[in-house]
């Protein structure tokens, strides 16, 4: 492919080839210098990583398609085979999220979802026919990025302490959070389990990185060389974010019955906490 891309370039080279004959001037510049002069002025460092960019950007679309179709299908299978976890919502209630946390979460969630969906629309722009709808989505993507940028900071600060990794997180990963078994056994997790922690770090730090690269991609105010790198990273990280975004939705809305309500009311039942966040429950017990 690269060879063919250079076909256009070959014409410039052709245009210079005759200098070998016509150079009667006592010029101190050699043909090769002039050629490099033109090459650097026109093509610059394009050959450094643009072919890579072209190769990977074109491959990105199928990967996204795989994620968009694959991840929900896996969850569908999980739902059908293992089914959701059910907890009693009666009895003792534990205040999990205060009002501030809930507001911040939902604001961030709103912007984040917009970002994910508009981002996907941009990637699959041809499916949506391009044009004004996708262009509108680009603007929404931009505005949402600003919204997310504002809300992600308090979110990061308020959950930072609870999201620090703990030794039992390894254990959680080993049993995949117990989601592969139907049995109700206490699962090793603090206030937030390792999956949530992973999601937290990806959404905040990863989100921050997306904001940073997105800012440059939007304004184009850096070298093309850097832009290509940023665009690739933006798209690569986007894959992980989209995958975990779907996971988060599945977990909170479907996989754990009623989990959604805890983010609305702020309370979780002791039953649920004792199983899914056993370490935290123990701590609460001790305190009491």
């Amino acid at each position: 492919m690269n060879k063919k891309i250079f076909l256009g370039l070959l014409f410039i080279i052709g245009a210079l080839a005759d200098t070998a004959f016509a150079q009667t001037a006592p010029a101190k510049a050699y043909l090769i210098d002039i050629w490099y002069g033109f090459y650097n002025a026109i093509v610059g460092d394009w050959a450094k990583n643009a072919p890579l960019f072209i190769e990977y950007v074109t491959k990105m679309k199928p990967v996204y398609l795989l994620v968009v179709i694959g991840v929900p299908s896996v969850f569908l299978l999980h739902y059908l085979i293992i089914g959701p976890k059910k907890f009693s919502h009666e009895g003792e209630q534990i205040l999990y999220y205060d009002v501030f946390a809930r507001i911040i979460h939902w604001l961030a969630a709103l912007f984040f979802s917009l970002l994910v969906f508009t981002g996907l629309i941009i990637i699959f722009a041809n499916v949506f026919g391009g044009g004004s709808f996708v262009k509108f989505c680009r603007y929404v993507h931009l505005i949402s990025a600003f919204g997310f940028g504002i809300t992600v900071v308090p979110m990061f600060l308020m959950w930072l302490k609870d999201m620090l990794p703990a030794p039992y997180d390894i254990k959680w990963f080993l049993i995949l959070g117990g989601y592969l078994s139907k049995k109700k056994r206490p699962i090793p997790a603090g206030k937030y389990n390792a999956g949530q922690k992973m999601w937290f770090w990806l959404a905040t730090l990863g989100g921050g990185f997306m904001l940073f690269t997105g800012f440059y991609i939007y304004l184009f105010n850096t070298s093309l060389e850097t832009l290509r790198l940023y665009t690739l990273l933006h798209m690569l990280l986007g894959i992980a974010i989209v995958a975990l975004f779907f996971t988060h939705i599945y977990m909170s809305m479907i996989a754990i019955k009623g989990a959604l309500w805890s983010m609305i009311t702020g309370y979780k039942s002791a039953d649920e906490v004792s199983i899914l966040h056993s370490k935290y429950y123990e701590k609460l017990k001790k305190k009491a």
């Binding site: 016509a22 009667t24 001037a25 006592p26």
Partner: protein, 707 residues
């Protein structure tokens, strides 16, 4: 131009001196590059600046500004010393060779190196190149003319071609690229203060001839003048008219100038522009006639200016003359927009209101055809007799039938004629003269000998007598006299004499030799004189300028008293001006075009990295440039190796600023040009040619100060 643009395709060598054709004449470059490629013609570019043209050169010679005559005389000396000159041509068609030889012998390669800075070896090499590649063409522009010895420079170029025997030959000739569209036409109409149209001068005979053409009573014309003396006295020139207002130098006129009309000209092309501005403030009336609200109008800050909107070339029609003396009919494309009027209409309204429409406007019934006809009736000296509007239109309409190489039509309605009837086009069926002084063709078919204008014999100061007519056996084929002959009496005023001459196969103006020794010039043989403001005080003594000239186009012009060796200490840097390809002339039109303004948005001074570092200047920094005359401009530095470390270059096409002050508020809202900058001519110096009074903008001194 003695030849035409297309003829450059036949050149075996191209010698550019003081020309940047790649920027000033991009369209002519196709012929230049053709000659370079197909004929393997060496392209020699002599210029103080490594121009875009120099980039296309095979041999580039960097020369000190203002020393062109020395360099050219050095080449001529080499040609003579080494016997490289065309002996047969000199024997038969050149006069004053001995005097030239004597003068030229002073310019040995070593002397030339000292004056010009061109290595002695290079002088010999270039002379050899010129001798080895014939016919070669010599091309020059303002870099040659805009000096206080500009007339010597141009003559040195011509003499160089005479020595090479390149005159009157296809591929040879002296080709001066005119700076604007129809400038040759304007020159032929003598829009000048010292001549009537057609280079007739201001003698009584000339006045009487034109009175006859116009159908005006000579006595009436005479009565219009203050007194008879002023009828024959050259007026002020474009370069120095403002002295008639501010009178820094003594004027020889009964009254100062009170009103001025700017009709399609950029005033910022006049040197020492800050003094022009001063004149604007003292004038009672300034009239600006232009399609654009131009710099002149913006510079008049006293309430004394009237701006009349005229049309652009697309909204009117008429004949125009190209650089190579060809006429073409320009048709109207659109009707005049808004309130603008064509120049014809404006002139007509003036004439009517002044009350002599019945006099000057007698012959003009149909505009512009009748004007063209009147020109054909009047300009016999340059043979415009054949330029009838119908013929010019026929050529324009059938341009595709003409040959690109020779300009001659092959078949069709203009069969055998040359495109645009390059003048002299002696009669109404003459095909035009594509190459001047070409004796290989009959006069009736476009051939021409040298003009016999200065008598038949001359006695030089050393007592040598020389016949000024061409040698025996040298004449156009079919000539009744095979040899030199004087001019036909009365040919300048009588068409029948011209017809008679052509019938006899002879040129109406005779067949003479070209003079190397012009006794009616201050320097009969061109000689180097240091610029008035010279960066080489040591050379001033050796090559001093002329004595002061008290009544030089009605104004005292300083030479000797202006040339002070100590000036170079205070103003050590040489300043030259020139063009950029993006803007045209004063730039009022092009700077108002957003695309051109985008490409070249502001003025800059090109400074060599060495000079910039010595002054601690960086690329893009602002700097004050000051002239000895008190002009100063604030300008951006462009560090480049185009200029050497003693010279700075500024393009002159800008305005909108004046000595650090923005003039934009003087424009009506919405009429401001997009690209603005200081006019370079604020810092150009005193110095005017001794013969023509052209300003010396290519040999100035200045100093720079960090802003």
């Amino acid at each position: 131009m003695t030849n035409h643009f297309n003829d450059i395709r036949h050149s075996k060598l191209l010698f550019f001196i003081g020309s940047n054709a790649a920027e000033a004449h991009p369209v002519a470059m196709q012929y230049i590059l053709y000659a370079k490629e197909v004929n393997n013609a060496p392209v020699i570019v002599v210029d103080p600046r490594f121009t875009k043209l120099a980039a296309k050169a095979t041999d580039y010679v960097r020369i000190r500004p203002g020393t062109d005559t020395a360099f050219l005389m050095g080449l001529i000396n080499q040609l003579i010393q080494n016997d490289w000159y065309d002996k047969e041509f000199v024997r038969t068609r050149v006069a004053g060779f001995e005097e030239l030889k004597k003068e030229a012998s002073h310019y040995t390669p070593e002397v030339v190196e000292d004056i010009t800075g061109v290595p002695a070896k290079e002088v010999v090499r270039i002379a050899k190149l010129l001798a080895d590649n014939r016919p070669g063409t010599v091309i020059w522009c303002m870099g040659i003319t805009q000096h206080h010895i500009g007339s010597s420079n141009t003559r040195a170029c011509c003499i160089l071609q005479l020595m090479l025997g390149n005159m009157g030959k296809s591929g040879g000739g002296t080709n001066i690229f005119r700076g604007h569209d129809n400038v040759q036409g304007a020159t032929d109409m003598c829009v000048l203060s010292h001549s009537l149209p057609g280079y007739y001068g201001l003698s009584d005979k000339a006045w009487k001839h034109w009175c006859k053409v116009w159908g005006v009573d000579y006595e009436w014309i005479k009565s219009r003048f203050y007194n008879k003396k002023y009828m024959n006295k050259p007026g002020f020139t474009l370069a120095r008219w403002y002295q008639g207002v501010i009178q820094e130098d003594k004027i020889t006129q009964y009254t100062p100038i009170k009103a001025v009309v700017f009709w399609g000209i950029s005033s910022q092309s006049i040197s020492q522009y800050h003094k022009v501005k001063k004149a604007f403030e003292q004038l009672d009336l300034v009239v600006v006639i232009d399609p654009f609200f131009n710099t002149t109008a913006a510079m008049c800050e006293k309430d004394n200016v009237y701006v009349l909107p005229s049309t652009s070339q697309y909204e009117t029609e008429g004949s125009v003359t190209s650089s190579c003396r060809q006429a073409q009919w320009r048709y109207k494309v659109v009707n005049p927009v808004y309130d603008s009027k064509t120049d014809y209409e404006i002139m007509e309204e003036f004439v009517k209101r002044f009350g002599f429409a019945d006099k000057f406007y007698k012959n003009i019934k149909k505009i512009p055809e009748d004007i063209t006809r009147e020109i054909a009736n009047g300009c016999l000296t340059i043979g415009l007799c054949g330029w009838l509007p119908e013929r010019i239109k026929k050529h324009t309409d059938n341009w595709h039938t003409f040959d690109i190489d020779t300009l001659q039509a092959k078949g069709g309605p203009c069969d055998g004629e040359y495109y645009g009837l390059p003048w002299p086009c002696w009669t109404e069926d003459h095909p035009g003269t594509p190459i001047l002084y070409d004796i290989s063709k009959p006069v009736a078919k476009g051939g021409l000998p040298f003009r016999a204008r200065f008598g038949t014999e001359y006695t030089y100061p050393d007592g040598r007598k020389e016949n000024l007519l061409a040698a025996e056996g040298v004449a156009n084929p079919g000539s009744e006299i095979m040899g030199g002959y004087p001019e036909f009496p009365g040919w300048k005023t009588d068409k029948n004499v011209i017809k008679e001459a052509i019938k006899r196969g002879m040129a109406p103006f005779g067949n003479a030799r070209a003079r190397c020794y012009c006794w009616n010039f201050p320097d009969p043989v061109p000689k180097h004189r240091e610029p008035l403001h010279s960066p080489r005080p040591d050379l001033i003594k050796k090559y001093p300028t002329y004595p002061d000239k008290p009544d030089h186009y009605r104004v005292y012009t300083r030479y000797k008293s202006e040339q002070k060796p100590e000036l170079a200490k205070e103003f050590p840097i040489v300043l030259i001006t020139g063009r950029v390809v993006e803007h045209m002339g004063g730039g009022d039109e092009t700077r108002s075009n957003k695309y051109l303004a985008e490409l070249m948005p502001e003025v800059y001074a090109e400074i060599n990295p060495r000079l910039a570092n010595d002054y601690g200047l960086r690329d893009g920094e602002m700097v004050w440039i000051e002239s000895p005359e008190g002009g100063r401009i604030k300008i951006k530095v462009k560090v480049t190796e185009r200029v050497d470390d003693k010279t700075i270059f500024i393009p002159y096409s800008f305005s909108g600023m004046f000595m650090g002050r923005s003039m934009l508020s003087n424009y009506p809202q919405g009429f401001e040009p997009y690209a603005i900058g200081e006019p370079a001519n604020i810092v150009t110096n005193y110095g005017y040619d001794i013969k023509t009074q052209i300003q010396g903008t290519k040999e100035c001194l200045c100093r720079i100060k960090k802003a």
